[in-house]
């Protein structure tokens, strides 16, 4: 058996704020294989972004991160800042949701990509320039030579996201973490970005952690999916297995909450509602986080944290009453 590229275990993140603590991530564990696309799915506040940001030390100082994240045998949660800087952007890189605010408005995009190359690969400015144009071509930006000398505001949203991706893959990273990379984009532009990510994975063998709330995007590109709820992993399975045989009521609820194109009964059908709301995370929950909203909840659910049980070869679910229907 090969060791995974990244192995996250027992990852917890707590924020100490003036209004008390927020337990944003609670003992999360997952692995990422080389060249794999892992979808990290959940709604706002479920801890999907925070868990990823914590890997690279990108959280504010109020965050308390515990646990382990082994990348090539090194626990990246516990390395000195200098070593982390060598990993960040080179071995593991990030693409953020909003390409406008993550690019520096006062430098040309070419300059910003060159900076990464010069910093990590110590290229000369001439070499960096050449490589920058190659990268812009790689992410299919037309007239790359000219675009390299433009400022972020001169590019469209889709183009800026391509620049972000070019920057992220500049040093041929082993892992690309993409946090809602298409959420701010129109669907026709999203289609192009998804194709590009698929292409990069195939050509460069980059593993991708794709953080999204959009199950359609996951269905399109992910190999394996982790569904998160209130800071915990609710369910994990290979993508086809998850969509064909979801076991956690939250996953089922989410899947049935979305209108689908070409669905029989569109026009007069109803969508699945998930009653209630996400619990406050000010205390570590000593019961199932979904209990208040769950049709399957009982005394056991309300008093114990469900362990992750194996219900299929690679299918894990954190539910005392797993099953394929919303209620039982």
């Amino acid at each position: 058996m090969t060791t995974p590229l990244l192995e996250v275990s027992d990852l917890s993140v707590r924020f100490d704020t003036d209004d008390g603590a927020v337990h944003a991530v609670d003992r999360l564990a997952y692995t990422l294989g080389a060249g794999e696309v892992l979808g990290l799915v959940g709604e706002s506040g479920c801890g999907k972004s925070v868990s990823a940001l914590s890997l690279l030390g990108l959280l504010p100082a109020t965050a308390r991160v515990t646990g382990e994240a082994l990348f090539e045998g090194v626990n990246v949660l516990d390395v000195p800042a200098r070593q982390l800087r060598r990993i960040r952007g080179k071995e593991i890189s990030f693409v953020f949701q909003e390409p406008m605010t993550s690019l520096n408005p006062v430098f040309t995009v070419g300059k910003q990509i060159s900076e990464v190359l010069r910093r990590h690969l110590e290229l000369s400015s001439k070499e960096a320039r050449k490589r920058t144009v190659e990268l812009l071509k790689l992410v299919r930006i037309p007239a790359a030579e000219r675009r390299a000398d433009e400022y972020p505001h001169q590019l469209s949203g889709g183009m800026r996201q391509r620049v972000m991706i070019a920057m992220a893959v500049a040093c041929d990273p082993k892992i690309l973490i993409a946090d809602e990379p298409t959420t701010a984009l129109d669907v026709t532009i999203q289609a192009g970005i998804l194709d590009l990510m698929r292409d990069l994975r195939e050509r460069l063998g980059t593993a991708i952690i794709l953080i999204t709330h959009n199950l359609g995007v996951v269905a399109d590109i992910a190999d394996r999916v982790v569904v998160m709820y209130a800071g915990r992993k609710a369910e994990e399975a290979p993508v086809r297995e998850l969509f064909a045989r979801p076991q956690h009521p939250y996953t089922i609820g989410l899947l049935n909450a979305i209108p689908r194109l070409g669905e029989e009964g569109n026009g007069r059908a109803r969508l699945q509602e998930i009653p209630g709301r996400v619990p406050s995370l000010s205390e570590p929950l000593d019961h199932c986080a979904f209990a208040d909203r769950c049709p399957r909840a009982d005394d056991l659910t309300r008093s114990h944290v469900p362990p992750l049980e194996r219900v299929g070869p690679e299918h894990l679910v954190a539910c005392f009453h797993p099953g394929g229907e919303w209620s039982h």
């Binding site: 129109d186 669907v187 026709t188 709330h213 359609g216 269905a219 194109l261 509602e273």
Partner: protein, 345 residues
């Protein structure tokens, strides 16, 4: 069905152009945000207006409720021309149309309780006062699925979904004939979206209002709407009933849009052919000559040179299916780029 009564909303050749920049600034010019839109919404009908960012759909909505004054064209509400009415003369007609905005955080006055917010149209239009007003507000809260104790809370104390329910209650408080919903669920989480869409559907069946539903999400339109209009660069490029549009999309842009929409099913999603459009939507300050879609159209070689010279008109190609494309002839099937997704298979 013969529509004898006037449509609830009738927009004819609506244009809204914005002047930007002064005479000395380099980026000055005219933004052709909406450039000749015509559509009608019948009584009790839900019409979906779909398009990508910058297509002009929100500008249409803002012109209809006269938050913007149109550059030209006419807007008729239940047969009455409201395009030029003064604010004072428009005020009594505001009972007839209400809008729900996208952002439930910025569209509610933070200094009023949500009960006051919902009651405000009732007070403004002198529909109710005193105890009667309180009772009606309570009823409205009940109708949109909010506990009536929440009346005394302020908007910041409510979740996004609850706030959007408040927005709906406010809009429906005076029983308007027309509800304009501008991306009402886009800012909400998926599980909350479902509840709001179900609610909107229930309320529409219950109260019978007409609705102009604006969104970028095709699946939501297919779920909710009776007819669909697709906008591109300030113009409607296709307009048809839900069944017709989703089963037989004719305009290449509509087909591309449908093929690019992701569906939450890996088996279906990975087996689909996707039309990836080249380039970006052109600037509405400098729209292409002739067909607005020609710069990205995969069928451009076939429609050229006509597409450069002549703007295709939106015309009925049969069964109330309107398309603005040189390659779609009345009665003909038109170009088919991909198989549409129909019937859940």
């Amino acid at each position: 069905m013969v529509a004898l009564e006037a449509p609830v909303l009738e927009i004819t050749d609506l244009k809204k152009h914005f002047q930007v920049g002064g005479p000395l600034s380099p980026g000055s010019g005219t933004v052709y945000a909406v450039d000749g839109v015509s559509l009608a919404i019948r009584s009790g009908e839900m019409l979906g207006l779909v398009g990508e960012s910058g297509s002009g759909k929100t500008t249409v909505a803002n012109c209809v409720v006269r938050l913007l004054n149109p550059t030209s064209g006419t807007i008729k509400l239940k047969g009455r021309d409201i395009t030029q009415l003064s604010r004072r003369r428009l005020r009594p007609l505001r009972r007839e149309m209400h809008i729900v905005f996208q952002d439930p955080y910025s569209s509610l006055n933070p200094r009023l309780t949500v009960g006051q917010i919902v009651g405000e149209p009732l007070r403004m239009h002198k529909v109710a006062r005193g105890r009667d007003l309180d009772r009606q507000v309570e009823d409205l809260f009940d109708k949109v699925g909010l506990r009536s104790e929440l009346r005394h809370r302020y908007p910041h104390e409510l979740s996004g979904g609850q706030r959007q329910r408040v927005g709906l209650a406010r809009a429906l408080s005076v029983s308007p004939s027309l509800l304009i919903a501008d991306e009402p669920v886009s800012a909400l989480d998926v599980s909350v979206q479902a509840a709001i869409l179900n609610l909107l559907q229930d309320l529409q069946q219950d109260m019978g209002f007409s609705c102009l539903f604006i969104t970028h999400d095709l699946a939501t339109v297919e779920f909710l709407c009776d007819r669909v209009a697709v906008m591109y660069l300030g113009k409607i490029v296709e307009l048809a009933t839900r069944e017709e549009l989703f089963a037989h999309p004719k305009h290449p842009y509509t087909q591309a849009l449908l093929s690019a929409a992701v569906t939450p099913d890996p088996e279906v999603q990975r087996g689909r052919k996707r039309i990836v459009l080249e380039g970006d939507i052109p600037s509405p300050m400098n729209p292409p000559s002739g067909c607005p879609f020609r710069t990205r159209c995969p069928l451009e070689p076939e429609s050229s040179p006509r597409s450069h010279e002549e703007e295709p008109q939106l015309r009925d190609v049969g069964h109330g299916h309107f398309v603005a494309c040189h390659l779609v002839e009345p009665g003909g099937a038109g170009p088919q780029l991909v198989q549409p997704l129909v019937g859940g298979s």
